[in-house]
């Protein structure tokens, strides 16, 4: 019987040890880079948006537009198609693109389709209900000159526990009146992922 008690003495603490795996939570700065799964993440989205927009605004179409019209070009972000191997939330990427565009201060920017509908509804209700001095006019929206569209593609090379992921983000700026493509740009991201083949 003594041995049996001795056995219990060893076994019981094991249950406690196994049940108290605790969680750690730490606030991170949103610019801090942390790759966990190798999937497309917030950092990819933000860095890509910043880089391509900077590149876009430096290219010749911008100055041409300015010298021809004397005004800032008006830009809208259209559809970004996900053609990759991952479920990518293109909406956050579009938001990042919009943010970079507005914050550059070099273009005027109009709201995209979904947002526009909301604003229109608000303006319609203004016509009936708001103080006439503050009512905003209907049919006075700024039309965009250019539309930014694009896609996210991936190429994946996999062998056992190793994977190389190659993201190609392609963006095009189209002149709305003529369908002319005035700028093409993009960014490539390459990631190497290695999985553990043995665990405890």
């Amino acid at each position: 019987m003594r041995n049996f008690k001795l056995l219990l003495l060893f076994v019981i603490p094991l249950f406690f040890v196994s049940s108290c795996a605790h969680k750690q939570i730490r606030r991170m700065d949103s610019s801090e880079i942390k790759d966990l799964s190798g999937r497309w993440n917030d950092t990819d989205s933000r860095l890509t948006a910043q880089k391509v927009i900077a590149e876009c605004l430096e290219s010749p179409w911008y100055n041409r537009h300015k010298s021809e019209t004397g005004k800032n070009p008006v830009v809208i972000v259209g559809r970004i198609v996900n053609k990759s191997h991952e479920h990518i939330n293109t909406e956050t990427f579009i938001n990042d693109l919009e943010k970079s565009l507005i914050n550059s201060g070099e273009v005027d920017f109009v709201a995209n389709n979904a947002t526009r509908e909301q604003v229109r509804a608000e303006r319609r209700s203004m016509q009936d209900w708001s103080n006439p001095d503050t009512v905003k006019r209907m049919r006075n929206e700024t039309g965009a000159d250019y539309m930014l569209v694009g896609s996210i593609n991936t190429i994946i090379d996999k062998e056992g526990k190793e994977t190389v992921k190659f993201y190609q983000i392609d963006l095009k700026l189209l002149q709305l009146e003529t369908n002319k493509i005035v700028w093409i740009g993009g960014k490539k991201i390459k990631k190497y992922i290695k999985k553990d083949s043995i665990s405890w």
Partner: protein
């Protein structure tokens, strides 16, 4: 240690490895046959499958399927996505669990899924997204499943029967075409055609669906490929609808009809007598009474338009063949384990006999062999809400609203054995509409 402790310890080990889900699965499959999907979900959630981390993958797959069948697509996506993540984690071989399985049985290992099950996770996810009208994400699943199939293909170098999935590739072809990625579409149609013609013909005795001829002609002509002339010659000048004709004049209804429930693995065993009443036992998973497909063909009718379709994915037959493929490997593993267990008993007996406790030796020997045999259990786990077979029909229609989409089911003797009203459907010009139905014939 006295006798009582030894006994207690042995009993504990035996019971620990005995938990079985047989009854749960039986009940869930009963719910399935009467289309009580939500009841089945409740049953599943209350079971041991939901809590045991070894069976995580199974739980996610079963729950994903049931949620899909209950038309709860977003929730279904959550569970199938969890299943994918879990598969990723299971890539690493666990040393502790492997050793545990050596002294008890394979049920001590986490369930890692059969190859065809891994592929079908993507298939159901694609259907989930389609039902939510999200083609973009459905296509992400198509791309992922292509990667996975290439990997399986590479891994077995054609040694395994299941190294390709003709139906899944076919569906990829359809979806890529709808999205306008014609190159990808053509490649998948072509792979599907090859796989039907080779593997599926040889092992399951089914050939490619007749629509595939039209698809190959349409795509190769649309892409301006030389293959067009080769196919034209091969298929003997059949008429096909060109893409431009389709786009401006027609619409299409594509029905995926899943029938029945996939068979379950059962435990087979071989015994050899050892000492007293103890015996040497080898167990292995096997399929018995898998049942043949009763359905010969299906016919889809909308207004004055109708089209006949057939079996495109004989899942039950694929499962059986897949297990047969692995039978040698499973047997070797079982034999190694039984040898280790029975051998250890003999060694322990011999050591005891030479010690001052020699009077316990015969008892330990009998108990040891008894324990070794009693803990031998075949791993009969599987994804058991899957259908027995999958059928497909493509029906070209004039654009418009059809109030009674009718599915008629015929047996192999061409006698009508069932009829289902799939409700109304509206097809716009150039649109391809998906419909899904699960039945139990």
């Amino acid at each position: 240690m006295n006798k009582r402790n030894v006994l207690l310890f042995l009993l504990l080990l035996i019971f620990a490895s005995c938990s079985s889900n047989r009854k749960l699965i039986t009940n869930i499959r009963k719910d399935l046959r009467s289309s009580n999907y939500n009841e089945a979900i409740v049953r599943l959630d209350k079971s041991d499958l939901a809590t045991n981390s070894k069976n995580n993958l199974l739980y996610y797959m079963e729950k994903g399927t049931l949620l899909f069948l209950a038309d709860r697509y977003s929730e279904s996506i959550t569970y199938f996505t969890l299943a994918k993540r879990r598969l990723d984690e299971l890539f690493a071989v666990s040393i502790s669990k492997q050793s545990a399985s050596m002294i008890s049985n394979d049920l001590a290992l986490p369930y890692k899924g059969e190859d065809f099950e891994k592929v079908l996770i993507h298939y159901y996810l694609a259907l989930d997204y389609l039902m939510l009208n999200n083609l973009e994400d459905a296509l992400v699943e198509c791309r992922q499943v292509n990667l996975l199939l290439n990997e399986i293909n590479e891994k077995y170098k054609k040694k395994n029967v299941y190294s390709e999935d003709a139906f899944v590739r076919y569906l990829n072809g359809v979806l890529f075409e709808i999205f306008g990625e014609l190159n990808d579409s053509y490649i998948d149609y072509y792979r599907s055609y090859k796989t039907y013609k080779n593997n599926y013909k040889r092992f399951y005795n089914i050939t490619y669906p007749s629509f595939l001829r039209n698809d190959l002609l349409r795509l190769s002509s649309n892409l301006g490929l030389d293959d067009f002339n080769i196919f034209k010659e091969k298929f003997g000048n059949i008429s096909y609808l060109s893409e431009s004709n389709f786009k401006y004049k027609n619409g299409e209804i594509i029905l995926i009809f899943e029938n029945g429930v996939i068979p379950r693995k059962t435990q087979g065993e071989v015994r050899a007598p050892l000492v007293n009443r103890a015996f040497f036992k080898l167990v292995f998973p096997e399929y018995r009474n898998i049942g043949d497909t009763v359905i010969g063909s299906v016919k889809l009718t909308a207004g004055k338009f109708s089209s006949v379709g057939g079996l495109v994915e004989p899942l039950a037959a694929i499962a059986v063949q897949d297990l047969k493929d692995r039978a040698d490997r499973i047997m070797a593993r079982m034999l190694a384990r039984a040898t280790v267990k029975h051998g250890a008993t003999e060694v322990a007996t011999e050591m005891l006999r030479r010690s001052k406790y020699s009077q316990f030796a015969p008892l330990v020997r009998i108990l040891g062999h008894f324990f070794s045999s009693a803990t031998e259990k075949a791993d009969t786990r599987g994804w058991y809400t899957l259908p027995h077979d999958i059928f497909l029909v493509r029906l070209l229609v004039a654009p418009g609203k059809y109030s009674n989409l009718q599915l008629n089911i015929y047996n192999r003797g061409d006698n009508k054995i069932g009829s289902v009203n799939l409700g109304s459907v509206t097809v716009k010009t150039g649109q391809r509409v998906f419909k899904y139905y699960r039945g139990y014939w």
